[in-house]
């Protein structure tokens, strides 16, 4: 019972962790509060749902969902860079448009995958035989995908292109003096971020085997909570990359929710709980940040 609960927390934490890494790119690196996430997560679900429902490769479906998320993120970036719409509004526009798009892709508001649909999990069901260990097979597959995404992102951040992405959020003016167009870099960053979010949606689709057009609500808040936990609580740990912290942040977050539910919190109150948890992390964040800033000015 406890073992199952823990496995469930880890599975969900790691899937949503991929999404949180996307939020980390926009919120922390680009300093762009991107609400498209609430639409690109279900976009990933929708794209993946239709593909595996038609018997296409479930792995191909992950790649397609990533690409679809990239395209959606590019729109958010284009709204901001080319049409000069304020960043918060850009995300809201994309999110709103995606509601219709996602509905259109699947053709109805909600649907389930039939039991005989091939998914990445059905293909790997007996990875560890059919004994007690079989309950770890899903977690193993999720772990591989999440770590692949994490290492890819870590690697990208250390490339020249990744350096530019980091500097555009840090100091846009410097990017201009380097003779690069900050707008283009912002668009690339938003594309990668939403690609990751949509990839998370695609994994979640095969995991939960369901599509619901409204399932994106609250995704960005969840992602932000994980990012803030990851960048404050786990920042203290030496030699740990922030992406690892963000993944762990999401696991912690999911654990809190699961424990609350198991302790008898009515499911309809989870959003309230999410908000409270979010405010709590923000308050902690503020407290920790202020302390750190005070420390820096002492050095200066």
């Amino acid at each position: 019972m406890i073992e199952g609960l823990i496995i469930g927390i880890l599975e969900q934490g790691l899937i949503y962790g991929i999404m949180a890494m996307g939020v980390y790119i926009t919120y922390t690196i680009l300093d762009f509060p991107d609400l498209s996430v609430d639409g690109t997560f279900p976009l990933g679900i929708a794209v993946c749902f239709v593909m595996v429902n038609h018997g296409l490769s479930p792995w191909l479906a992950l790649i397609a969902a990533f690409a679809a998320g990239c395209a959606a993120g590019m729109f958010t970036g284009l709204f901001n860079v080319k049409l000069k719409i304020r960043n918060l509004l850009c995300g809201i526009l994309t999110m709103t448009a995606l509601y219709s798009v996602n509905y259109g892709i699947v053709g109805k508001a909600s649907d389930f995958l039939s039991m005989d649909t091939t998914t990445i999990f059905s293909q790997t069901e007996f990875l560890f035989g059919n004994g007690h260990m079989a309950m770890y097979s899903k977690l193993a597959v999720i772990l591989v995908i999440t770590l692949a995404a994490k290492f890819a992102l870590d690697w990208y951040m250390r490339t020249k292109s990744g350096f530019l992405l980091r500097s555009v959020g840090d100091n846009e003016g410097l990017v201009v003096t380097l003779a690069k167009n900050p707008g283009t870099i912002k668009i690339i960053g938003l594309a990668i971020a939403n690609g990751l979010v949509s990839l998370a949606g695609a994994v979640y689709c095969q995991y939960g085997r369901a599509f619901n057009v409204g399932s994106g609500t609250g995704t960005v808040v969840m992602g932000l909570a994980a990012v803030i936990i990851g960048t404050t609580v786990f920042r203290k740990v030496k030699f740990m990359r922030i992406t690892t912290g963000v993944l762990l942040g999401m696991v912690v977050y999911k654990a809190c929710i699961s424990v609350a539910l198991a302790a008898g919190l009515p499911a309809q109150n989870t959003n309230l709980m999410i908000t409270l948890l979010f405010i709590a992390t923000l308050v902690i964040n503020e407290f920790v940040l202020k302390k750190r800033k005070a420390g820096v000015s002492k050095n200066a």
Binding site: K160, S161, F163, R166, N171, V175, V176, L178, A179, N299
Partner: protein, 261 residues
């Protein structure tokens, strides 16, 4: 010798045209800078020094007139495109570096200017020793802190780093806007000496705005004084060498009297 590096001709600029805040700044402003000149620009507050630099860099568009850099007309060209030929350091020390990136990362990114920012490794390992030697020349102890985030440096240290970064790939034109103004007198002199050294060694045509009269007197090959969108004094060569701070102050006082203060 007499190749023109920068030519501003007949520049007009009015801010908030047609409103109650209308401000005519430039009406027929001209300035020509030859290749290799190191021009110090001084002038009263609001005389248009920063706006002039912004018109050159493309951050502000002039209403009319032309900006010609090294024989190429810059009008209508985006700021980041012009930046291929221009290096710039601002007054605010946090504007010249990326605070969350390390010194090494900052230097690597500046060293790649003009090339593509592709998927190859961002840190420049081959040039690490070179970077270290550059930092060593500053005498600020930065050579041992390559892995420290730039945000953890003091204003003077950051400004010195910004200057090294802006000139790492030799620009055709270097724009400095009161780049020592935010620093204490000692750091200010350190950064000014570094500026002189880099500009000399790399032979970079430089336009330096400063409020420090002493810097304008001691450094540079030419001094320009601006007032209300015009140039009221322009000296170079022997004439400049013979001018002292008090000569500049005299002109400054005259313009203040004109304004009725």
């Amino acid at each position: 010798m007499c190749r023109k590096m920068l030519e501003l001709s007949d520049i007009h600029k009015t801010f908030n045209r047609g409103t109650i805040d209308e401000k005519v700044l430039f009406s027929g402003f001209n300035l020509t800078i030859e290749d290799g000149e190191f021009v110090g620009v001084i002038g009263s507050n609001g005389s248009g020094k920063t706006t002039m630099l912004n018109i050159i860099s493309g951050d502000v568009a002039a209403d009319s007139g032309s900006v010609i850099l090294d024989g190429v007309k810059m009008n209508g060209m985006k700021n980041f495109k012009r930046a291929k030929k221009i290096g710039r350091v601002f007054q605010n020390p946090s504007m010249g570096t990326c605070p969350s990136m390390t010194i090494w990362e900052n230097m690597s990114i500046a060293d790649n200017k003009g090339k593509t920012y592709d998927l190859s490794f961002g840190l420049n390992r081959q040039r690490k020793d070179f970077y270290r030697s550059q930092l060593e020349l500053l005498g600020l102890g930065l050579e041992n802190r390559l892995s420290a985030p730039a945000g953890s440096l003091s204003g003077g240290q950051r400004q010195a780093l910004a200057l090294i970064m802006a000139t790492m790939i030799r620009p055709d034109l270097l724009l400095l806007d009161e780049h020592t103004a935010a620093l204490d007198p000692k750091s200010s002199d350190t950064v000014m000496m570094l500026t002189e050294k880099i500009v000399r060694e790399k032979n970079i045509t430089t336009l330096m705005v400063t409020h420090n009269l002493r810097h304008a007197v001691e450094y540079g090959t030419r001094a320009v004084m601006m007032h209300e969108g015009g140039i009221i004094m322009d000296v170079s060569g022997e004439e400049k060498k013979n001018k002292s701070i008090s000569d500049y102050l005299k002109v400054f006082n005259e313009i203040s009297i004109e304004c009725g203060n």
